[in-house]
Point group: C2
Chain length 326, copies 2
Amino acid sequence: MTNETLASLSEADVLSRIFPRLPAASAQLLGPGDDAAVVAAGDGRFVVTTDMMIHGPDFRLAWSTPHDLGWKAAATNLSDVAAMGAVPTALVVAIAAPPHTPIETIEGIADGLRDCCAALAPGCGVVGGDLSASDTLTLAVTAFGDLQGRAPVLRSGAQPGDIIAAAGTLGDAGRGLALLFSEAVTEDGAPDATSAARVRAAAPELIAAQLAPSPPISLGAVAATAGATAMLDVSDGLAIDAGRLARASSVSVDFDSAELGAHPQAVLHGGEDHALLATFPAATALPEGFRRLGTVREGDGVVLVDGHPHDQGGWDPYRGWDGAAG
Amino acid sequence: MTNETLASLSEADVLSRIFPRLPAASAQLLGPGDDAAVVAAGDGRFVVTTDMMIHGPDFRLAWSTPHDLGWKAAATNLSDVAAMGAVPTALVVAIAAPPHTPIETIEGIADGLRDCCAALAPGCGVVGGDLSASDTLTLAVTAFGDLQGRAPVLRSGAQPGDIIAAAGTLGDAGRGLALLFSEAVTEDGAPDATSAARVRAAAPELIAAQLAPSPPISLGAVAATAGATAMLDVSDGLAIDAGRLARASSVSVDFDSAELGAHPQAVLHGGEDHALLATFPAATALPEGFRRLGTVREGDGVVLVDGHPHDQGGWDPYRGWDGAAG
């Protein structure tokens, strides 16, 4: 550590430290440095999604490394692109940070963005961004994708009789978060880095699923090509997100409990895995990486398990967050 | 006021209050409600820029109305699209707000986004977004544009002999901010709503230039069509931004003091006007809305006034902001 902070360096110095770390995008026609970037849109359309990560409600610096933050900010946005059946092409990234933030924090975020793109969406890169001062460390990522001439796969296309299937972990991210809240806090409940490191060593897969998830980005386009009738990104838990798909498609979704594994409550209610949930016509051979979870039935937006209605629960970004809680 | 806050309403309720207020985009192929939006990119490319507005460094709620915030967040991003010579097509908008924020604040921001698009970039609309909890009210806008088959107008194309010209106000936004800091604060320097209203009534144009600017968005594509060789958005003051153009183009820019008006220091150093600064071949008849400011000369990135070197000054997002200052 060099004791260099955002306040002690010029904006040009900070940018010169970040730019070389950022991944280049194959679709980039004009990159950072002008008023705006220019990105190729091969089929005359582009997919776009945006998502913020906020210190406090969305991450704790005692638990996440800067690399984790960059990785997760990229992964969660790439996942929304993949859930349309598109191939991610580019990101723009706005970071707002307190002036006392060490430059190494911003460099680590940039490294996480780069490594996530390289691992999950090769060819996708950062084409632009913004750097601001804020009391609250905030990452705002906007991601773009190429449908390659295909129709987008919406939430609304599921048909009775379809298979419902998932790719990626379900429940692990929620179990990882539960571990952090129970075992990586001080006696008064504040996030604690030392015990977080211990928890991470003891349960690396669950903690990685929460702090630096690796959703199956490439399988979005694969599912679209295989004929997926509906698809979405499981961000708020399988029950809630299946309910969204069911309501949008005016069907019911019936999960087989035997397919929900050893931790069905975590699978149904744990959020932030960013698995892909997709429906396919019954005769489809599921693409590699997808596993059958159940069947789409006639209905009106209800989620069932073994034919019985399941309480979908609920989640709200403004419940359970109080600034005073740190 | 109904005492309804973000925390007292469900996310679905909040979105149902916001969506009807947002402007539709002509280029929208798929709008809000799925994992991502789909936007038309007529010529197989899209222009993209992103910019955050943060409570504290970028705005004060004692000075700006929610409508002002939505307007300015749109206007500043639209201006970066226009500065490439593109026509703005769409925005995505991420808002992070404290849970106690009244729903009317978010509605006002949405109304400002809508009214700004309608006034400055008809046909441009909001195709997606994100709503998060944060201790710091934050708006992150990403804007898209259509080059309509033209090459983007970069900062780097100015040639010795070109005219340098501007469209839009220069200095007014900085003069408005100076008025707010001198006359719309309490005795201990905190922003004050009552005196801000008095200042706004006394100097409506200067205050509007700062809090809800109306940059000449449509003139970006007009300048490109007229043959502009270089262009950028004047966000940090004419001297700094002319220096950027001069360095990118490896030229010098020589302003005629007679063209800088009655407040040359404000024109040269006041930021946030979002005027368009463009260079045109000497024989060009300037498009309506542009006025000549001087001449591009051979040189190495220097800004001159009447042939004499001018100190460009500097600006840094991490200087002059201290969270404790409120």
